[in-house]
């Protein structure tokens, strides 16, 4: 199996789907001539031309809405946000137009559109450029939300998202683009709504997604050295949430830690905790603990930033606590 980067996996997904279906087009800032701010769209302008790889002004609300309108008109837009921090300006179109169009039209207007781009913190980009929006987006009925952690999942989920007849939010990561992984040749479709056990274990479940999968796996490695077998469940899809996969793991381990990049209050982890205590109450041998970003804006200073982020050590500490090891 070829080993490629997360960036190239996304690029393959876009290319393959654009080759497959002429109704698919890519729109966003710097996606064409500049080959993408993070080079995810490299080569697409050359292959598909300016009509299908569209550079926009800096007008997130406007071009997100143009994407929604194009979907109403029968196309399958892929809207790239340079980062999700800027998509804050486009939420009205994502929430009020895209997510509600099918419902408020009484089922007449499908909304096959993808909103994608890097989410969460990178390195020292400070508070306005280091925000993780998954809990906001997963809150909205009418949307689907995926957050792939590996190149294979990135390709397979983006391809599924583009073929989906609903608005799908694809949360990528600047810090993930250069990561490498095996990606099977040919057609690869990862179904939306299915979590994956990235490492099996029997002592404690670590639920994670996107950029917290790598630290969760590192933590599992450390825990293994301490005689603790952690099971790492990568949610992959945040809406719909794969509740049965979470519950199946907890039924085995009876203990859980939930890690996420976002802030704690009403985060994804809170919803996962709700699912577990609601449906696995009698299975639980300890409260579920959460590891999140510090409940602060992101500081610029490197040391402070490190303190603010979820890390393997924090996950290990939480796991040991739910195991009553310290």
């Amino acid at each position: 199996m070829p080993t490629i980067t997360y960036r190239d996996a996304l690029n393959q997904a876009l290319r393959e789907e654009m080759q497959r279906d002429p109704a698919v087009f890519l729109m966003g800032e710097e996606v064409g001539l500049y080959q993408g701010a993070y080079k995810v769209s490299r080569g697409l302008l050359e292959e598909f031309g300016a009509q299908r790889v569209v550079d926009t002004p800096i007008a997130e609300l406007g071009f997100a809405g143009i994407g929604v309108g194009a979907a109403m008109g029968g196309l399958r837009p892929v809207i790239e946000f340079m980062t999700w921090n800027f998509a804050l300006l486009a939420l009205d179109q994502i929430v009020n137009s895209a997510a509600k169009m099918l419902y408020m039209s009484g089922g007449q207007l499908r909304m096959p559109i993808v909103f994608r781009g890097p989410n969460g913190a990178a390195l020292q980009l400070a508070s306005q450029h280091s925000q993780a929006w998954e809990s906001w987006l997963a809150h909205i009925p009418g949307l689907k939300v995926v957050a792939p952690a590996t190149p294979a999942d990135a390709k397979g989920l983006l391809k599924s998202a583009i073929r989906d007849n609903n608005p799908v939010v694809v949360l990528e990561g600047e810090m993930l683009y250069n990561t490498k992984g095996e990606v099977p040749e040919g057609e690869l479709l990862v179904p939306i709504g299915q979590a994956e056990v990235k490492r099996a274990g029997s002592d404690v479940t670590v639920v994670c997604h996107s950029k917290t999968v790598a630290p969760a796996l590192k933590a599992a490695e450390q825990l293994a050295g301490q005689g603790v077998a952690a099971e790492v469940v990568d949610l992959r899809s945040l809406r719909p949430l794969d509740e049965s996969a979470i519950l199946a793991s907890v039924a085995k381990t009876h203990r859980a830690v939930v890690a996420e990049e976002g802030w704690p209050h009403s985060g994804i982890g809170a919803q996962v905790v709700d699912v577990i205590q609601r449906d696995a109450f009698d299975e639980l041998d300890a409260p579920v603990l959460r590891v999140t970003q510090a409940d602060t804006p992101m500081p610029y200073n490197k040391q402070l930033e490190r303190l603010a982020k979820p890390t393997p050590d924090k996950i290990v500490a939480a796991a040991r606590r739910v195991l009553y090891l310290d």
């Binding site: 087009f25 009509q51 569209v54 926009t56 002004p57 007008a59 609300l61 406007g62 071009f63 997100a64 809405g65 143009i66 994407g67 929604v68 309108g69 194009a70 979907a71 109403m72 008109g73 029968g74 196309l75 009205d92 179109q93 009020n96 137009s97 169009m101 099918l102 419902y103 408020m104 039209s105 009484g106 089922g107 007449q108 207007l109 499908r110 909304m111 009925p141 009418g142 689907k144 007849n165 609903n166």
Partner: protein
């Protein structure tokens, strides 16, 4: 940017037929809205309900310049545009009543009328929110090499919100076949435009985006129609967007729950505007030209009146959506 004035009418039979149709459509909207007001008072219609009375000439004049494959998209004040687009009075009234037989299955209501087949792309409730959607529909037309156009109705107050500017700029840069049709009725709810806009000629903004701009008298359906035809021509061939500012007036309150007049506009102003009633203007003109007589007008009025009565009866007798509808259409399969 040109300012159009109504060209003199030589009355060809075609003109006469067109005017007759326009008169009927304006009457239909007027009677429909009057009935909707009654039904609202009776509690048969809920939520917000924004009437179009006084602005009929705009929807009618523009719609007569469109083909069935052209797109129309509008704000929450869209009953009139939906009706002249060909959605039946029954389907529109039933939607206001929230019934399963409504054009949006009872889920959308007054602010969210939809009929994809008729290419009526909604009723949208966020001021300015549907302008990018209109540009997007035009983008899809151009992408597929079609020759349809998209007409976007919106109020003057939407010009103060960012979405207007972002959408118009991109429509111009990409030469999209779209007509931005601003119904300038002078007020956004209780706020006179001049109190919140630095420049009160909406059409001025056409310059900043290098698109065609026109201002027309929205109380004269023929003038509106001619300007719309010019704009749609520009859009169809070559995809040149137009900003068409139509000067009109709302005879009723902003919505059913708002006063007709009060602090923000005087009774006298409303009365004076009512003297410019677009329906009277057209019927008067037709009477003058001898293309219709009073009996003919009365017959048209009786006809639409019956149509609206039937629509109310239909809406009233239609079933509510089944309970399981709550969970349907959240996600498409």
């Amino acid at each position: 940017m040109t300012t159009a004035t109504a060209q003199p009418q030589q009355q060809s039979p075609a003109d006469a037929a067109l005017q007759r149709r326009m008169l009927r459509e304006m009457l239909l909207i007027r009677r429909f809205e009057e009935k909707a007001a009654e039904a609202y008072a009776l509690g048969k219609i809920g939520g917000f309900c924004h009437l179009y009375i006084g602005q009929e000439a705009v929807a009618v004049g523009v719609s007569a310049a469109l083909t069935p494959s052209d797109y129309v998209i509008s704000s929450y004040r869209e009953h009139g545009q939906a009706l002249v687009r060909g959605i039946s009075a029954r389907a529109v009234m039933a939607e206001l009543f929230g019934k399963a037989t409504g054009c949006s299955g009872g889920k959308g209501g007054s602010m969210h009328l939809f009929d994809a087949e008729k290419r009526f792309m909604g009723g949208h409730g966020i001021v300015g929110g549907h302008l990018p959607l209109a540009a997007g529909l035009a983008f899809a037309i151009k992408y597929r090499g079609g020759d349809e156009v998209c007409v976007c109705f919106f109020g003057e107050a939407a010009v103060n919100i960012g979405a207007f500017h972002e959408a118009v700029n991109m429509a111009s840069v990409w030469k999209l076949p779209v007509l931005f049709l601003c119904e300038n009725n002078r007020y956004g709810m209780g706020t006179a435009f001049e109190r919140v806009a630095a420049v009160t000629d909406v059409v001025e903004h056409a310059c900043s985006y290098d698109i065609a701009g026109e201002v027309v008298n929205g109380m004269d359906v023929l003038e509106v129609h001619q300007a719309a035809r010019r704009a749609i021509q520009r859009a169809r061939k070559g995809g040149h967007p137009t900003l068409l500012e139509v000067r009109t007036y709302r005879f009723m309150g902003h919505s059913m729950s708002d006063p007709l007049h009060g602090v923000y506009r005087t009774k006298d102003e409303v009365e004076e505007q009512k003297r410019k009633d677009p329906i009277h203007q057209l019927s008067h003109r037709m009477l003058q030209a001898g293309t219709i007589d009073q009996a003919g007008i009365d017959a048209l009025d009786a006809e639409v009146h019956a149509e609206v009565e039937d629509a109310v009866k239909f809406a009233d007798e239609s079933p509510d959506p089944a309970p399981e509808e709550l969970l349907r259409h959240v996600i498409a399969d």
